[in-house]
Symmetry: C2
Subunit: 364 residues, 2 copies
Amino acid sequence: MSEGTPSPAPQIVSLDRLDRFCRDVLAAVGADAPTCDAVTRAMMHGTRLGVDSHGVRLLAHYVSVLEGGRVNKTPRLSFSSKFGAIAALDLDHGHGALGAYVGMGRAIELAETLGIGAVAIRNSSHFGAAGAFAYEAAQRGFIGLSLCHSDSFMRLHDGAQRFHGTNPIACAVPVEGSRPWLLDMATSAITYNRVQLYKSLKHPVPEGMASDQEGRDTFDAEDVDMLAPLGNEVGFKGAGLAGLVSILCAVLPGMALDFDILPMNGEDKSTPRRMGAFVMAIRPDAIVERHEFSGLMTRYVETLRASPARPGARVLAPGDREWEVADVRDREGAPIDPATEAAFREFSGTYGVALPFEENSRTL
Amino acid sequence: MSEGTPSPAPQIVSLDRLDRFCRDVLAAVGADAPTCDAVTRAMMHGTRLGVDSHGVRLLAHYVSVLEGGRVNKTPRLSFSSKFGAIAALDLDHGHGALGAYVGMGRAIELAETLGIGAVAIRNSSHFGAAGAFAYEAAQRGFIGLSLCHSDSFMRLHDGAQRFHGTNPIACAVPVEGSRPWLLDMATSAITYNRVQLYKSLKHPVPEGMASDQEGRDTFDAEDVDMLAPLGNEVGFKGAGLAGLVSILCAVLPGMALDFDILPMNGEDKSTPRRMGAFVMAIRPDAIVERHEFSGLMTRYVETLRASPARPGARVLAPGDREWEVADVRDREGAPIDPATEAAFREFSGTYGVALPFEENSRTL
């Protein structure tokens, strides 16, 4: 493509076809069936809800780490529990999405009988969109919480060096007859993907969201070396929340601290990263009857959605924006960015898997 | 005092004397012994650590609501549990600090045997500094989490009306041989007390932290009608976290939603506010051995404190600033603001309780 040629419209691909393609590629790579299923479901959660940074775009990364050996294609999972309501899941360096789904399943079982249950996951890896696993709990009628740390990308409040990962907090709560309340947020002010978007758009970075390599705030996406913690002047809050995530995901299960984790996109694709994660479930009827919980939760979200907005803006419950995207993509499919499309074509050739779109729909 | 006369230096009063005075006044009001103890400890946590908004300044408010009947001076607490690891505590409209301490005690007992335990508190009231109860868990060797909602004071992201309370999240984690890691944060960008401070100092409110009654950002503290959620451009994060607090403190235990709670400082001091709270404890050795947890936690906080700072700034772990204040106040006592001093003098007369400072140390 010569310079100045406008980018072609992205491929729009049905979710079913994308799902099938991801499963087939992962299977061709040699991942076992539970891994293929968990990784595909987690990526499709991202793609369906418009969280494209954590959608099928990740397939290329996951293939590289499964092939490289960093992530175990056929892990032997084992649970252990010293105490009743919290368990450890050793993921044997398998894929983080597998650990988080299996861990949430156990947390739900524990919550079923004990009202609340948690699982700390050991020897995990990048798990994708944190919201996928909280959503899983809500789909099954439970309040779900999922947390994961990562390699350092965020400075401390008033800090001048990367310290925490972007350490997301996700929570989902069932709403009767409706989609769950679904919060999925990085504890950094901004994600690195957003910085990259600003870079490509030559758009200034909003104030106090990212810093250069001396930790100074920068408006220039080209100068961004680290992310700021959520809060700007009160960035101790974002840094504190990121720390809480690190403590539950790394310190509690005895895993690598954020600054000891090998970088996600580093050269080394063979050494396991010793990451941890933490998932928790609570029965909505742990304290009051189910109908009372449901009634209050419905009143909460309905009052929220009816709350007056600032001029020209809308008030949304956590997840509302994502469910709107999901409605469109369920009908029409999801756009695939050019880099991901190219990776898919390569995988199709390498692994002999049918593409999810017409072979010659575009000359790249 | 005529206009233009400089304010006198505040009374500095030893913590022991303040503690004694609060207990004596609460007892004279007719609060039972557990209430006197819990309320005093919670206020002294605030005063000792420099969180003066939640320190002994609250005594006057608490006296008014105990006298008015909104808060029960002699509540009959009762636990119930449908499931093993999460319990309900009905506080019988007693003081929130009593509920939170007693609730955390039960959460710790549950965590002792089950690894994790939680208590949802019903029929509670303003509980003071959330950090006090998380700190209690850490002092006893557990990871502690305490949450409380309140009457509406914060707009939604892009909202133009008060919706959530300032809904704090507090967490404390034991650090061997050292003070706990202690995070205590409102999920609003700023507290209303801080706005009042800016008002008295005629200092502009930082950008995106507070709004006028149409929900527009304002720099003028005089115009502030509602607080912004933590995050400014990404205020959906602060609003989402505030919502999570509301769900666990109000929806789960079947209590009043934030916007249904009578205002803390309203005329009505007799009607119970039907607030809830949520506390949780986790054993640090739930997954790995205690020494492994301790070693990692120490490495985490020591690496954090050694992380490079921006020019002219310091990097602190959550709680470090507060522990520095506590060191000073343990030695020298705490300053008492003029309004609180006046209230103390009044209580001394009304209840026949000896003042914690010299009677005629100042002519007000």
